[in-house]
């Protein structure tokens, strides 16, 4: 198989879903079954991506395939768009297409009867197209373009049921919160483009390798990298921009599985993976801290939520925090590994929750569920397997990837003294196991708490359960490593995904090392690798221990009810309310950013209306007033003077008339008198 074929197929994979979108939008009025076309297209792209994945991973192996063309070319500026196919790309192509396809299939049943049924599938197609663009890009500009398109399609999908205000609000919130991060990303891209004159990742890395720095300083490279990372803070729902994701659960549940578990939110992590070569040690440390904090904050919130999807949403935020943290500490391969494993088991969990919600007449509150395990066995078992993967129970994929991240955190703490990161990491492991056990127990075990809805509950048809089974199967360790306790023996980490040491060795490493020396002693990739190896078993036992305790606690509280949940709640009232209200972060934003913007907006409008326009109208009034005055002046002064002089003339004329007698004698008398007076005066 030659390279052009791979490129052509990749381009086909990219554009087929767009074709689906366009055709569904335009034809669904005439053909009511357009959703099938869209689903078949996704099946096709899935088949194609499996095919090129196989070619790339097993035949071409390490080779990278690049295809680029000039999008804008003028003067001194050439803007190139293009795709790059490496191992990461084909793995992501498979993940995105598989989950998208399964979600399509699942949605055929789940969304049946919706009045915008076809349109829903069109949006899924648009979303898949946008996401695939992010996966395939070899440059920052195209990344940004598709990044925003993902924003658009998620806006449409989250707000799909726009008749509900909450859904419309959630869509808008998602878009705007993402845009906050995007501004940072955009500025970062501007710095990089101004410096390097290109958007292409590899060209930028090469120039960094040559020692070219933005504005000539190493710090600015760090700032630029961090700014681009802010895009990921938005899209991957990192603290403090995580607030949109839980609200986004207003969208149809399969959408949550697709975009809020497996793809859109993973785009942020994927972005960091792609720009890893330009992140300096300082930037990475901040990234690690943001990831760890996100992961912890979200986990603490998930513990008290009662909406099944909200729990999963916060769990997603928390796990994304894990990935980001993992990238920040340099455990690059584990982060990507977790991205993939998480995509499968979290999609499974979301689709599982959808299955529950579907059969419970759209009940989402776990306080009204319970005892569903016998009624919905497939949903139950797939849910349990995925939960086990999320909690990091051995023999699951999640165990392998999570273990790697925690070992990395442990090693990082050990080497650098930043113990806050492993501490938060392990705390999250404990919390995760606890809230997921709580969720499973409250949903599937015990007695039904709403008998009426329970009676209605039933297992869903195959269209919904088969995707669950596929995803649950993929949550098992064998796909990633035959040794259930050591991921490095599998092809995924052993061969396919490697921390980009090349970028390190040739370029940024030199600089990273200088940075790293100041920040964390002598941390080199080799040393780190070794330390992770040492940390492997301690980290594993610690996390297993914590998970065991958490599951046991949850079991005692919610299943055996030996410990009263209500008692705990009232004992820790403050903490509980704080967690239940999501740390009041939304309220904080409302009171500051949103309110501030609105107040400022109204103030400026007032200013515009009364001051700026006031001056305009004022000057008009002044002009009119002046013209009125001049009219007065005209009437009374100018005209008055004229009239007055006429009057004076008339007056004197009248009085002097008497002098004029017409007699010569009188005139002679006047003349004589006058002469006498003049003479006297002289």
């Amino acid at each position: 198989m030659s390279h052009p074929d791979i490129i052509n197929i990749s381009i086909a994979i990219l554009f087929l879903p767009l074709l689906g979108f366009v055709s569904v939008i335009f034809l669904s009025k005439k053909i009511s079954k357009m959703y099938i076309v869209e689903t078949v297209i996704l099946g096709l792209t899935l088949a194609l991506s499996i095919y090129i994945g196989f070619q790339k991973l097993f035949v071409l192996k390490g080779e990278e395939i690049v295809f680029a063309f000039n999008w804008l070319d003028y003067d001194n500026l050439t803007i190139e768009l293009g795709i790059k196919i490496d191992n990461l790309t084909v793995i992501m192509l498979f993940v995105v297409n598989l989950i998208s396809f399964l979600v399509h299939v699942y949605s055929i049943e789940y969304m049946r009867g919706d009045k915008r049924y076809n349109r829903y599938f069109a949006y899924l197609g648009l979303f898949t197209f946008s996401m695939l663009g992010i996966v395939l890009t070899h440059n920052l500009l195209m990344m940004y373009i598709f990044w925003e398109l993902v924003g658009l399609s998620s806006y449409l999908l989250i707000g799909f049921w726009f008749e509900k205000d909450s859904a419309a609000n959630a869509g808008k919130k998602a878009f705007l919160v993402n845009r906050v991060g995007d501004i940072g990303m955009f500025l970062g891209i501007l710095i990089l483009f101004t410096t390097y004159g290109t958007f292409t990742f590899d060209t930028i890395f090469a120039q960094i390798g040559e020692g070219i720095m933005p504005f000539g300083s190493f710090e600015w490279l760090g700032i630029a990298g961090f700014l681009v990372f802010l895009g990921a803070v938005g899209k991957s729902a990192q603290f403090p921009l995580h607030v949109w994701l839980p609200d986004a659960m207003e969208g149809p549940t399969p959408v949550s599985a697709l975009i809020h578990a497996a793809t859109m939110v993973a785009a942020g992590v994927y972005l960091i993976v792609r720009i890893f070569g330009l992140l300096t040690a300082d930037a990475l440390l901040y990234i690690a801290i943001i990831g760890a904090v996100t992961s912890f904050v979200a986990a603490t919130i998930a513990v008290t939520q009662n909406d099944i999807k909200k729990v999963l949403a916060y769990s997603t935020v928390s796990q994304l925090g894990y990935m980001v943290m993992s990238l920040g500490i340099g455990a690059y391969a584990f982060a990507f590994f977790h991205l993939v494993t998480h995509a499968f088991f979290k999609a499974s969990l979301f689709l599982g929750s959808g299955s529950v919600i579907h059969s419970m007449h759209h009940e989402q509150d776990i306080r009204f569920m319970g005892g569903l395990k016998d009624k919905m066995p497939i949903t139950f078992w797939t849910f349990v397997i995925s939960t086990a993967a999320l909690c990091g129970i051995p023999f699951t994929s999640g165990f392998l990837s999570k273990d790697g991240i925690l070992a990395g955190a442990f090693a990082f703490g050990n080497l650098t003294g930043h113990w806050i990161i492993p501490v938060l990491g392990f705390a999250v492991a404990f919390l995760t196991a606890f809230y997921m056990s709580r969720l499973v127990i409250l949903t599937f075990f015990g007695k039904p708490r709403d008998q009426h809805k329970y009676d209605h509950a039933h297992e869903n048809p195959k269209l919904m359960t088969v995707p669950l089974m596929v995803l649950a199967t993929l949550s098992i360790f064998v796909w990633f490593s035959f040794n259930p306790f050591d991921s490095s023996s599998g092809a995924f980490l052993g061969e396919w995904v490697k921390t980009p040491t090349q970028a390190f060795a040739e370029g940024s490493y030199e600089y990273s090392q200088t940075g790293m020396q100041t920040v964390h002693e002598e941390l080199t990739p080799q040393l780190f690798e070794e330390e992770i190896h040492h940390a492997h078993y301690p980290a594993m036992f610690l996390s297993l221990g914590l998970t065991g305790i958490a599951v046991f606690l949850a079991f005692m509280i919610y299943y055996r009810e030996k410990i009263s949940a209500d008692n705990l709640e009232s004992r820790f009232k403050g903490i509980h309310t704080f967690s239940l209200n999501k740390w009041y972060i939304d309220e904080l934003y409302h009171a500051t950013a949103i309110k501030g913007t609105m107040v400022l907006s109204r103030m400026l409008f007032w200013f515009d209306k009364y001051i700026i326009d006031g001056i305009v109208n004022g000057s008009a009034y002044v002009t009119r007033f002046v013209s009125y005055l001049s009219k007065l002046f005209d009437t009374f002064v100018v005209d008055g003077l004229v009239n007055f002089s006429a009057f004076i003339t008339g007056f004197f004329g009248a009085s002097l008339r008497r002098v004029q007698t017409g007699k010569v004698q009188t005139y002679i008398v006047y003349v004589v008198f006058s002469i006498i007076i003049i003479l006297v005066l002289i």
């Binding site: 726009f162 008749e163 419309a168 400026l604």
Partner: protein
């Protein structure tokens, strides 16, 4: 096409249409409408013909010999006027890469505006006659290369606009019309003063070797033509070039409209009938920025260089301020009007960079804003025609009732937000890339990026309030758009998507000229700044 006076044709064709309309009896409404439609359609065809004959490699800008479709002859000539010598004004038309996109824009928007005028309720004959006169004025501004002629076209467009707002407008039409008129006239006075100052400061050499004072914009950009004592001559140590520049700039800035001279715009828009709003936002505002690029920049390169930071600053204020004010509007049309203020800020910012990327972005933004805003005002018009209200909060949930309309609205709104794949993104991105690359205006540029967020905020909020949420039963009777309305939306949508995906189509037209302009601003500015 060789030898055909295509610029005169495209400019004065509407006058011909006006004459025909005036000759038609006023009860022949169909005849009047179809005449206007035919004329504007012909104009589009001429513009496309021009484009097909347009040589992308000729710069124009400050080089008279590389302007295209040039028509030049002596128009007014008075020999030996006492101390003035010979007074002459040329009829001088020509286009280059800077004006070509504007000619296209004017032709397209005029055609769309005619389609949207189909249901003008009263005095149809007068409306279309004035409309076509306006069309001539606009087209003339973009093709005139003689300052005197430019000024005539500039003023020509004012009068029909005044009546179009003042007669066919909304409840406060008189106020809005007079405000527009006086404000613009005030700007014109500034322009006129500078024009006269320039006239007495520079000469051009005629074929017979004699030197005469000149209104030729291209000759005015050549410093060698300035005499040593002219009031606006760079060689006169006591010259008034800064003051003249500011006066000229303000004259044009009123049209853009630049903060703080923008308040006529919301009033004019709110009162104007839909097609006039479309023309106003789609074409008229561009005349301001075009004037700056065509006249203020090349004639005063060194002053521009000195003041570029302020231009960028005002661009930033327009972007941020316009967006903030738009956010609290309750009237749909006023919101769109303020969004225009915000979006024109990008044009200023891009121009201020004086880089070819930034200026390309600015002109592209002029074109894109023209099409996008035209579409936005049409959207307002569609809903206003049906509901007779523009209050954003009066609606709700219309997306269920008017799905096709909502589809177009979504495209237009996201284009305005700058979504990649739609044209607005490319121009905004180029503006930012160009402006960011210049160190002196970098901070201003960074602050301006807030506009990206605020723009999304007011647009999406509006989208939600009108189209999402619970359907307001009051609007049960509303119907989705008809085929005539489709005929105005579809071409614009195609342009918006096409230029979003393939911006080179437009960039290639303007690039040679823009690089020449950027190069000129650099070298001429340097010469003059260094020489003083």
């Amino acid at each position: 096409m060789e030898g055909m006076p295509i610029l005169s044709l495209i400019t004065f064709l509407p006058v011909l249409g006006m004459v025909i309309i005036l000759l038609l009896p006023s009860r022949n409404e169909a005849g009047i409408k179809y005449t206007a439609l035919g004329i504007t359609l012909l104009q589009v065809i001429l513009a496309v013909m021009m484009l097909s004959g347009f040589n992308y490699n000729l710069p124009g800008v400050t080089d008279e010999s590389t302007f295209q479709f040039v028509e030049k002859f002596r128009w007014i000539e008075i020999q030996e006027v006492s101390w003035l010598g010979t007074v002459k004004v040329d009829y001088f038309l020509g286009v280059d890469g800077i004006s070509m996109p504007m000619v296209l824009l004017t032709a397209i928007v005029s055609l769309i505006a005619v389609i949207s005028s189909w249901k003008i309720p009263k005095a149809i004959k007068g409306f279309f006659a004035l409309f076509l006169l306006l069309d001539t004025g606009m087209m003339g501004v973009f093709v005139a290369l003689d300052l005197f002629l430019f000024y005539i076209f500039w003023e020509l467009m004012l009068l029909p606009m005044y009546f179009l707002i003042g007669i066919w407008g909304g409840p406060r039409k008189e106020y809005a019309a007079i405000k527009f008129f006086i404000y613009t006239l005030l700007g014109s006075v500034f322009i006129l003063l500078v024009m006269i100052g320039l006239y007495f400061s520079a000469t051009e050499t005629l074929a017979d070797g004699s030197k005469v004072f000149t209104f030729n914009i291209i000759e005015l950009a050549n410093q060698a033509n300035y005499n040593s004592d002219g009031i606006l001559s760079p060689f006169n140590p006591q010259n008034w070039r800064y003051i003249a520049y500011i006066a000229l700039f303000v004259g044009f800035a009123i049209k853009i409209p630049m903060f703080p001279f923008h308040t006529w715009l919301p009033d004019a828009h709110v009162e104007a009938p839909t097609p006039i709003s479309v023309i106003l936002a789609g074409v008229l505002l561009k005349m301001g920025t075009y004037g700056i690029l065509r006249i203020a920049f090349p004639v005063f390169p060194e002053v521009t260089r000195e003041l570029m930071w302020y231009i960028a600053l005002f661009g930033m204020i327009n972007i941020i301020y316009g967006a903030f004010v738009a956010l609290s509007q309750k009237d749909f049309k006023k919101l769109i009007a303020y969004s225009s203020v915000s979006h024109m800020g990008y044009v200023l910012l891009g121009m201020a960079s004086l880089t070819s990327t930034g200026i390309n972005g600015a002109i592209l933004q002029m074109f894109n804003h023209g099409t996008i805003t035209a579409m936005l005002f049409l959207i307002v018009g569609v809903i206003y025609d049906r509901a007779h209200t523009r209050g954003i909060d009066d609606f709700g949930g219309l997306a269920t009732k008017l799905p096709v309309y909502t589809g177009f609205v979504t495209v237009a709104f996201f284009a305005a937000i700058g979504l990649p794949g739609l044209s607005g993104f490319v121009s905004e991105a180029l503006v930012f890339v160009g402006a960011f690359s210049v160190e002196s205006i970098r901070v201003v540029t960074v602050i301006s990026t807030l506009g990206i967020l605020l723009g999304a905020a007011y647009m999406l909020w509006t989208l939600q309030r009108i189209f999402f949420g619970k359907f307001n039963e009051k609007w049960e009777g509303l119907t989705d758009i008809d085929s005539r309305e489709m005929a105005m939306f579809i071409p614009l949508t195609i342009i918006i998507i096409f230029l979003g995906v393939y911006p080179s189509a437009m960039i290639d037209i303007m690039n040679t000229s823009v690089s020449a302009l950027a190069e000129f601003m650099n070298s001429a500015g340097n010469n003059l700044l260094g020489g003083m």
